[in-house]
């Protein structure tokens, strides 16, 4: 029998590795990871310490709570319930709430809500729903709930127009002001369009009534362009639908009618594009002296034979457009905010479209390609709104700003949109550079240090977008979860915490739909992330963070069979979930009169601690009061209680030198721990309180090497290191002797 002392493991940053990789001893993740690494967090130097507990803040109305902070400094959790929104202060006080049938999300689909903050306004999108807007009044210090609206100015609705229907069909109007009959050359109008607007030759009209699918009564917000007729020597080069212009005078129009007089002479008529009104005397037959001006078409030109005259009404034009987003055409399902522009994507009629608002005007999205010729604010100014569609029709899911550009995540790849002072985000200069073919899942990406993380469309992998520093290939996408893919089971949320709070480490959180959490930490070389699961009696439905502060939306099943939705905050100083200072519960979960601190968890069992002192389990009565052991004093202000979840580390034993054809056994296992309260290694428990110790005193924590001998042989020998009681511990090293 050969005894082999395996290389000790003192770096545990690899996380919990896929079980099937247990023989891949050469993999860094296997050497630094474990078969089971549950409920630990990895420190910057690679050691394991129990994950933080969660302090209960308030009972929530829903299963998704997102952190927001407004300009006046107030901090809130925006809690989404089925068809409802509650704004709760981080102290747990509900400051505003609204339930509405227009909020289309259910209790199980709140993870698909998309929102963005622009100054003191919150914009919310959900599939099929008109965007909603929450406004914080910084003077009154209160919230109001609105439906999203477009800015209007002098009758112009600042919304995007795009030709969606009956391409090639023309629209003709019976007049230029007042009630005008619009006639479409193809079936287009529906009664559902009443109240919506069209852009005809860049002028907005409101549909007042629909007579049939080709006729409607519309009212121009200002005035439709007038028509012009120009007699020419030869009408041969002119055809209906052409854009024609005079060679010397500022005349441009879309040809709507060509009449032949004494052939080939005749008259060319159309709706003006260069001017809104036609004024007699403004235009001349001549360009200079007695030299006649030319009317130029794509096919040729011909001289004017007389001065232009006013044209007839009802001339057709193909230059008309529809509202991109409306009750009739559907609403965007994603909203973002970057570079002072609000961003909408996920339009039912143009899934490959990205719509940016004007700079600093999140409710102004005026893009009208025809109107822009004469009114540059309609999409031609650098600060105007932008509407772009990506080639090959990828479905745009998210547009996120980060570092030197924006990133457009779609179901068919990731696109980089470079933005700089030299190339600002402006109409005409938006460039979609594809940097990856990876599709993205329905989870908003997050940024951490020098990487942007996202979960793939298959919900099985976390990938990172990184800057390379290369001019020719500035961004790349790398997978950062390959050894851990079995941890991700239908994830629904991704969040990060910066290491500026109780601990210096930065962590990445993935919430699985099952309620479990997978937490990762960038490895020192930043090439990968060590991921490990965090489990709890309370299922986690959402995580939101702000800097180092992490808020959990979680739900617990109580003894009455009710699911209690809560918002908790991560706290390194507590070792429980749903942790409550029993003598001063948080405002948001303060018990009603006559009830105890665990009134939401009646008739249950909780664990108590005071500092590092493990006080053991106590029963909770039907009113939520903790049942003290006879004679026990639970009046200390620092006693807290909650639900404890053990931590488990099970190492990978690669058997590098042992024969693979024989069974092996672990002869001896040793751990080196620091500041440790009670733990168990294999079958042996190492307590911090012994018979005869003062049970009321703070424990003297273990520090040093602790070993155990084990029995039994196995093809895959293993041993558990369990933090089976709440309290501090740092696992610095694990060493094993193996026999074969």
């Amino acid at each position: 029998m050969a005894i082999e002392e395996l290389d000790p493991q003192f770096d545990f940053s690899g996380g919990q590795v896929n079980g099937s990789a247990r023989r891949r001893a050469e993999l860094p993740a296997v050497r630094t990871g474990g078969k089971i690494v549950r409920n630990w967090r990895t420190t910057n130097t690679g050691q394991l310490t129990p994950r933080p507990g969660r302090r209960a803040l308030f009972q929530a109305a829903g299963r998704r709570g997102d952190y927001i902070r407004v300009s006046t400094g107030e901090e809130f959790i925006m809690s989404f319930g089925a068809g409802s929104i509650s704004i709760v202060s981080t102290a747990g006080v509900v400051v505003a709430s609204q339930a509405s049938p227009t909020y289309l999300w259910s209790a199980t689909t709140t993870n698909l809500i998309s929102w963005a903050q622009a100054q003191d306004d919150i914009y919310i999108c959900f599939t099929g729903m008109r965007p909603q807007q929450l406004h914080w009044d910084r003077n009154a210090r209160q919230w109001s709930f609105l439906q999203f609206f477009f800015d209007t100015q002098q009758g112009v609705i600042k919304q995007p127009y795009y030709r969606l229907s009956v391409l090639g069909a023309t629209m003709s109007c019976s007049g230029v002001t007042g009630a005008v009959t619009a006639t479409c050359s193809a079936a287009f109008f529906t009664s559902a369009m009443v109240g919506s607007t069209l852009s005809i030759m860049g002028q907005q009209v409101t549909i007042n009534a629909v007579a049939d699918n080709q006729h409607a009564t519309v009212t121009p917000s200002y005035q439709l362009p007038a028509a012009i007729s120009i007699p020419v020597k030869d009408v041969t080069p002119f055809a209906v639908g052409q854009i024609v212009a005079a060679a010397s005078q500022n005349i441009k129009f879309e040809v709507g009618q060509v009449t032949v007089g004494v052939a080939p002479a005749g008259t060319v008529s159309g709706v003006l594009m260069s001017n809104l009104t036609f004024q007699t005397g403004l235009f001349s037959q001549y360009s200079s002296g007695t030299v006649a001006d030319l009317l130029v078409s794509p096919l040729g030109s011909s001289q004017f034979t007389a001065a232009p005259a006013a044209g007839p009404s009802n001339l057709p034009t193909v230059q008309w457009q529809e509202e991109l987003m409306s009750a009739a055409r559907g609403w965007p399902s994603f909203v973002g905010y970057d570079r002072s522009r609000l961003i909408f994507t996920g339009f039912p009629v143009a899934q490959n479209a990205v719509l940016w608002s004007g700079v600093g005007t999140p409710n102004s999205h005026w893009v009208d390609s025809v109107a822009a010729a004469n009114q540059p604010a309609a999409g031609a100014n650098a600060s105007s709104a932008i509407l772009q569609l990506i080639t090959n029709n990828p479905i745009v899911k998210y547009v996120i700003g980060w570092q030197q550009g924006e990133f457009c995540f779609t179901d068919r790849g990731v696109f980089f949109i470079p933005v700089s002072n030299a190339q600002p985000l402006a109409p005409g200069s938006v460039e979609f550079d594809k940097i990856s073919d990876d599709g993205i899942g329905p989870i908003r990406p997050v940024t951490i240090q020098d990487a942007m993380l996202f979960i793939n469309a298959g919900l099985t992998r976390v990938s990172a977008v990184r800057a390379t520093g290369s001019y020719t290939r500035p961004m790349i996408v790398e997978d950062v979860s390959d050894p851990h893919t079995d941890l991700f089971t239908s994830p629904i949320c991704l969040a990060v915490a910066t290491g500026d709070g109780q601990h210096p480490e930065r962590y990445i959180y993935v919430v699985n739909s099952s309620g479990s959490v997978v937490v990762g930490k960038l490895l020192p070389d930043r090439s990968s992330i060590g991921w490990a699961p965090w489990t709890s009696a309370g299922n986690v439905s959402w995580i939101t963070s702000f800097g180092p502060t992490v808020y959990y939306s979680s739900y617990y099943m109580n003894s009455l069979g009710a699911e209690i939705d809560t918002v908790e905050v991560e706290d390194d100083t507590v070792y429980f979930d749903f942790a409550i200072l029993i003598n001063s519960p948080a405002v948001g979960i303060a018990p009603p009169g006559g009830s105890g601190p665990f009134w939401l968890m009646p008739s249950s069992t909780v664990t108590l601690m005071d500092g590092a002192k493990d006080m053991g389990e106590r029963s909770v009565d039907a009113l939520g009061n903790i049942v003290a052991v006879q004679g026990e004093d639970l009046s200390s202000a620092t006693i807290y209680a909650g639900i404890f979840t053990p931590c488990l580390f099970n190492p990978i034993i690669p058997l590098t030198r042992a024969p693979r054809t024989k069974k092996a056994s672990i002869v001896r296992a040793a751990v080196n721990v620091k500041g440790a309260s009670q733990f168990t290694l294999g079958t042996r428990t190492f307590p911090v309180q012994h018979f005869g110790d003062d049970a009321t005193a703070q424990p003297i924590l273990n520090d040093g090497r602790f070993s155990v001998r084990t029995l039994g042989r196995s093809a895959d020998p293993t041993i558990d290191f369990i933090k089976d009681r709440p309290g501090p511990l740092t696992l610095c090293e694990m060493a094993l002797e193996v026999s074969s």
Partner: protein
Amino acid sequence: MGSAASPLSLAATGLSAVGQISAGNTAANNAKTQGMNGLMSGFLASEDAQLAADVGRLKANQTNTFLLDRLNSQLSTADAIMGGTGATSDSPSNWAVRNRAEKVSNDYRTTQVGDINMQASADQNAAQLYMMSGLRAMDIANGNAAADRTNGLLAAGGTLLKGISGVSWS
């Protein structure tokens, strides 16, 4: 009783009259020459202005053609650039920028061409003015020449009469 004029005195009177006629003719010729010069100067200036007007019209046409070509080239380049940005060819913002650029360029073109045409018209008008000015100078010179001739003849006649009146016929 006066003294009788000598034959020599009569001859001198005759010569003086002839000289005055000759001086009148010379002044008339000078005036005509000056008028001709004025006419030629006006004609030349008119020709210059007419040429400038013709050149201006040509320049207007060339400018119009150049600016149209440049606009087409710029729009084509813009189309090529925007075609390579990963956006669809019917992206509204691309068209908004394109339409606006076309409008601004057309405004510039029509302004430029209009300015040049106005200058050409001014030159054309100047040509006519210069021509009229030359003709007017010629007319005035002809008038002056006739007057000079008449003045010479009258002065000569006066001199002759004065000389003859001094002759004693007794």
